[in-house]
């Protein structure tokens, strides 16, 4: 890894959230909250009135961008995110980041996730070994 300095951008990851993706993430993670695949249930409790993606799905995608940048999971020291807005099913979101500090062989990376409608659904920070 060369030329990683403050301001270096991650290669962004864009991924759709649809019913198939949501059911796959539910099965993979073991989080079967009906909010993420059942419209009748989501209609009663969802902040948007509709099905929303797992927050952890969005974190997983932000982490995917970070981990690819880091050169693998063994170089990821920390990932931390806040779920700032819900991600409605049927839309895509893009995850990226920017190096904000490089010190003692460790880069700190600001992470973000933006829905296609411009809403910022995730903010976070990662730390990776260089």
């Amino acid at each position: 890894m060369s030329a990683i300095e403050v301001g270096t951008q991650l290669e962004p990851v864009t991924q759709p959230s649809n019913l198939t993706a949501s059911v796959m993430y539910a099965g993979a993670s073991g989080d079967f909250n009906s909010l993420h695949y059942d419209q009748d249930f989501a209609g009663q409790v969802s902040p948007t009135g509709g099905i929303i993606a797992h927050g952890m799905y969005s974190m997983g995608l932000a982490s995917r961008a970070l981990t690819a940048f880091a050169g693998g999971p063994e170089n990821v020291l920390e990932v931390a995110v806040r779920f700032t807005r819900p991600w409605p099913l049927g839309t895509s979101s893009t995850f990226g980041g920017e190096v904000t500090e490089v010190e003692d062989g460790v880069a700190t990376v600001k992470l973000w996730g933006d829905n296609e409608d411009g809403t910022r659904i995730l903010r976070g920070t990662g730390r990776i070994k260089l």
Binding site: V13, Q15, A21, M24, Y25, G27, A28, S29, G30, D31, V45, P47, G55, M56, Y57, M59, G60, L61, S63, R64, L66, T67, A68, G72, P73, E74, V76, L77, E78, V79, A80, V81, R82, F83
Partner: protein, 150 residues
């Protein structure tokens, strides 16, 4: 009903988790991952960092939600999540001991923020595999002010 503040600092019984190749594959496919090691049948197979979700989010909260003295309720959202990793990535065959603890309960407006920490250690060496820190936001259950409760 508000969460019980006396529970801050309480540790719940440890549970074990076995990392398997099939689960790593399944998790990587669900995220559209392309690193071939996540899908490998060989010794180079490793788990992506947020694979930790599989053994910290739902299993880590299970004991808390089963605790009648804590006062959890179903109107909640996942507010934030943090993972801090040990010296190596997880691999198939790793056995982990995972210990949940209530790190904090705080109030923000009408909501309560419960911070659950789950410390996960390799069973064979005792070394840290990953620490999870998740904030669950319980909606609308913050205790009323004295004025409001009167």
């Amino acid at each position: 009903m508000a969460l019980n503040q006396d529970k801050v600092g309480e540790t719940y019984p440890s549970y074990t988790y076995e990392v398997t190749r099939a689960k790593i594959h399944e998790y990587a496919v669900a995220l559209g991952e392309s690193d071939p090691r996540y899908l490998s049948d060989g010794d180079d197979c490793v788990a992506p960092p947020t694979f930790a979700a599989c053994f910290t989010v739902i299993p880590g909260g299970a004991a808390l939600f089963a605790d009648p003295d804590l006062g959890t309720h179903p109107a909640l959202v996942h507010g934030s999540q943090r993972y801090v990793y040990g010296d190596r990535a997880l691999r198939p065959g790793d056995h982990l001991d995972c210990t949940p603890r209530i790190a904090d309960i705080s109030i923000r407006g009408s909501n309560e923020m419960l911070t659950v920490e789950v410390e996960c250690r390799f069973q064979d060496t005792g070394e840290l595999a990953v620490t999870s820190e998740g904030v669950i936001v319980f909606l609308g259950s913050a205790p009323q002010t004295e004025e409001g409760a009167a």
